[in-house]
């Protein structure tokens, strides 16, 4: 019943309602990939370059594939990358933030130096360099992990500052004096305070990962045989879909990604406003 | 001569929380008659509506605080002016020229990125006819000098001053246009005792100098004893007792006033000081009858049924308690 009330409150915000609906549609699309008639890696399974029709809802591309079924795979795969990147980087952020906040002193200085550097350096270039080097090993998982390595700095900082304030509270002294272990204290007592933050930034981080995947695909740094929003777009560009006027091919990944980005952003804004109406400043990963 | 008067003034916070309307009766039917050239103290616990009353007296009733009914009358050049009938620009002009304000906690009320002389300039230029920047600064310097504050404070940024100095600067600022009334909201709270003395001293000096009226709100009865000519005791949005300072301290009538006075330390008395038992009622759910009845040792019968009216028991000594009727 509590969950039901929570959703009722959230749905009052039109942004939440819109984004939840759009995301549902996109999720259904991703799930539909199970029913795809062909392996997405196969070429020439359909007539080439046909405009949308009843047999091919979104037309076909120059590789001889159905654009609709390709789209289902690309949404699915982009979401998989973003979920891996988002959840692993959240895990890193929680661990680093908690350790830095609780241990303090040199550990703290060191860890915060790393996270500050990550915030300051043009990350995109570092990611490009790493992607270049593991190009042959690129798949959904490695790409997700690569992005996860760089998406934790901001959150780690915020979690650390939460821990720093909690450390001064009475219950910490009580727990320490009564012999509670450090790890248990941190994860049982402190974690609940950091959880809402982790959830609301998870969405932002997913959006960042999807955006970076598209950029890396344009640079040809990901596996071009795996359909994602990025690779689909890159194929369309490299096969001159714009000049040839195959609008259905080029617009499908663009419209899908625009919908996805806006939906994720609105979702995160409405959730974090719900959690904390005062601090509504959002941070969206760039690139 | 009366300088400020309220008639059955009511101002409530009207809150709409998840569809249920809530009325917080912060100012609940208050009659004040404040004379020219007096220091009028308003005392009471936190949460009794003191600050809301002050805002109302200042003509600053903004949502969620709402004016329900009653009047506030300023006496401007022998003429009674209803505050609620004034235009926005008219009220703006009255502020600082006729009535000014010393805020609670001067820590965050001064613009942190400008020197104090700039703050003085902002206030002066918004009210006095155009003058050159140097004339304005000269004016501020003279004023500061006259009140015995070090001149270099004008060149300082707020964060460079101590809390006591900041509070004195805001008092000086409130006096700069020689207003008829200065309202001071807990000017000594959050300062240590030695500094408090200096601040109270400065308030007295300002009042001597300008021959004007100070309305001083604080929960600290010690400060009232020190400076106020007359005191109104406020409880749950109402004034429950009012008299000159000597009478309030010498012969208090309302049981609440007696508690407040007994909680003060006294020379030679080593017994433990007692504070008022219980806690103040929440202003959206007042008890029936006298609001003080849950905490009153003498409460009986009609105290639980009807709200006592203010009655004059002695010359200028008014109290709202059934024991006195």
């Amino acid at each position: 019943m509590k969950i039901f009330r929570l959703f009722k409150d959230l749905f009052r915000d039109y942004r939440f309602a819109v984004s939840a609906c759009v995301l549902c549609v996109l999720l259904v699309l991703a799930v539909l990939s199970i029913f795809a008639p062909n392996d997405p890696a196969l070429w020439d399974v359909a007539p080439k370059d046909e405009a949308p029709s009843f047999t091919h809802l979104l037309g076909t591309n120059s590789k001889g594939q159905d654009v609709f079924w390709e789209a289902t795979f690309s949404v699915r795969n982009s979401l998989i990358i973003s979920v891996i990147a988002g959840s692993v980087s959240r895990l890193i952020a929680v661990i680093i933030g908690m350790v830095a906040g609780y241990r303090g002193r040199k550990t703290d200085t060191f860890l915060m130096f790393i996270s500050d550097s990550l915030l300051v350096i043009p990350l995109f270039l570092i990611i490009v360099m790493l992607a270049l080097l593991i190009r042959e090993y690129m798949n959904l998982v490695t790409l997700g992990l690569l992005l996860a390595l760089f998406g934790w700095a901001w959150d780690a900082r915020v979690i650390r500052s939460i821990i720093l304030t909690l450390r001064e509270r009475d219950f910490t002294y009580t727990a320490v004096l009564s012999g509670t272990g450090t790890m248990r204290l941190v994860f049982n007592e402190y974690m609940p305070y950091a959880t809402p933050l982790v959830f609301s930034t998870l969405i932002n981080n997913m959006s960042w990962a999807i955006g970076l995947e598209i950029t890396l695909a344009i640079l040809g740094l990901v596996n071009m045989d795996i359909p994602t929003l990025g690779t689909t777009l890159q194929w369309a560009i490299s096969k001159q879909a714009i000049l040839l006027g195959y609008w259905w091919w080029i617009l499908t990944p663009i419209v899908l990604s625009v919908l996805l980005f806006i939906a994720l952003y609105w979702l995160s804004v409405s959730i974090s406003e719900y959690l904390d109406p005062r601090s509504r400043i959002q941070r969206v990963g760039g690139a | 001569m009366t300088i400020l008067k309220t008639e059955q003034l009511r101002a409530y916070y009207v809150l709409d929380m998840m569809g249920t309307k809530k009325e917080v009766k912060a100012v609940n039917g208050i009659d004040l008659d404040i004379k020219k050239n007096e220091v009028y103290g308003i005392a009471g616990e936190s949460g009794c509506g003191k600050s809301s009353l002050l805002k109302s007296l200042y003509g600053l009733i903004e949502p969620p605080l709402r004016h329900i009914d009653g009047k506030i009358l300023y006496n401007i050049n022998e003429e009674e002016v209803d505050v609620f009938s004034l235009s926005q620009e008219e009220t703006r002009k009255l502020r600082w020229e006729y009535i000014s304000y010393v805020p609670q906690g001067s820590m965050s009320v001064l613009n942190p990125v400008t020197r104090l002389e700039e703050t003085y300039r902002d206030f002066l230029e918004s009210h006095v006819p155009a003058k050159s920047k140097n004339e304005i600064f000269e004016l501020a310097r003279e004023h500061i000098n006259k009140l015995g504050l070090p001149q270099k404070t004008l060149k300082a940024y707020p964060h460079q001053l101590s809390g006591g100095m900041r509070q004195r600067v805001t008092i000086a600022l409130a006096a700069i246009l020689k207003p008829e009334i200065i309202i001071a909201d807990e000017p000594t709270t959050a300062l240590d005792v030695v500094v408090q003395r200096g601040v109270v001293q400065l308030l007295k000096e300002v009042q001597n100098e300008l021959n004007n009226t100070i309305i001083l709100v604080t929960h600290d009865m010690g400060v009232h004893a020190n400076i106020a000519d007359r005191i109104g005791i406020m409880y749950a949005g109402k004034i429950v007792e009012e008299a000159d300072t000597e009478t309030i301290f010498g012969a208090p009538k309302h049981p609440y006033t007696r508690y407040l006075i007994n909680s003060l330390p006294q020379f030679g008395d080593k017994s433990v000081r007692k504070s008022v038992p219980g806690s103040p009622p929440s202003l959206d759910k007042l008890p029936d009858g006298c609001s003080f009845n849950p905490r009153c040792p003498h409460a009986k019968g009609r105290c639980f049924e009807r709200v006592p009216e203010m009655v004059e028991v002695n010359n200028g000594h008014r109290v709202a308690c059934w024991m006195e009727n």
Binding site: S117, L119, P122, T215, L233, G285, G286 | N111, P112
Partner: protein
Amino acid sequence: MSFIKRYLIPRLIQYFLVIFVGVTAVFFIPRFSPSDPVEKTITQLRSQGSFLDPASMDEFIEDLTEMYGLGGSLPEQYMDFWKRLFHGDFGLSFFQFPTPVIDLIAVSLPWTLALLLSTTIIGWVFGNLIGGLAGYYSRKSWSRILDTIAMIVRPLPYYIFAFALLILLGFVFRLFPISGGTSFGAAINFSWNSIMDMLWHSFLPALSLVILGGAANFQTMKLIVQNVNAENFVQYARIGGIKERRIVGRYVIRNAMLPQFTNLALSLGQIFSGALITEIVFSYPGVGTLLYNAIITGDYNLIMGIIAISIVAITTGILIIDLLYPLLDPRIRYSQGK
């Protein structure tokens, strides 16, 4: 004194440490990678159909090793790397052999700097100005409309937004040139025509950077102003009957600008990355397009040179902003030890 100790020195230390760590990473990452750039170059050449006999092959490998700075032990290579860095020597570009990497970057960098500086400043000023007004008049309908627009534009990544603009204004409406920094074959000089031609070509990339940067600044500034508006010193000024225009300018905007200055420093890396990506979309002749070509052709020296220079440039930019900040905030300029 305490200002230097508390503010200046930590920032200088951070500056040099970040450059040190960043450049070290640029040095080590390729060397710990599973693939050898020399081998990679050779396979790439083979796949393009070049044939080399074994003798010249060995020589070629040696040349490549030398060129990539891979000769000698690791510490030697590392010291050598720094030495060359101080001389601005990043070796020769492989695919535009034998042009030094630094020369290629020197040609592209002015384009990027011009685009980056102008769009960042315009986006910052306009975003903050409009955001500030929208925050101050947050109940007005135009403020809400702008807010909704920002809510739509803000989450779009640089690539998608620039590309959508390119399709819309370059292909569908054909209002602006779709690629390049000048008209084809046009000479670059300081004549009126040449400058107008360059501005005309940089309009779309600049527009997309200004809109995205402006939207981000708009949103944060709007929130900051709403918060500052509720601060005690603003309320006090209002209570004091200070004229509203003065309150907006000297109290609200002045104070709200401070965090935006810090935010600019924090997001400089992102803005820079965004500019590179936008350049790629419009084939704008800056560092981004250079990087793109370097990646496509596997030109390792060029990639490493671009990244190393970018790290130094960005951290320097941030340091400059950090050093300017105390001029705006007296609390830092005259901080007193506690």
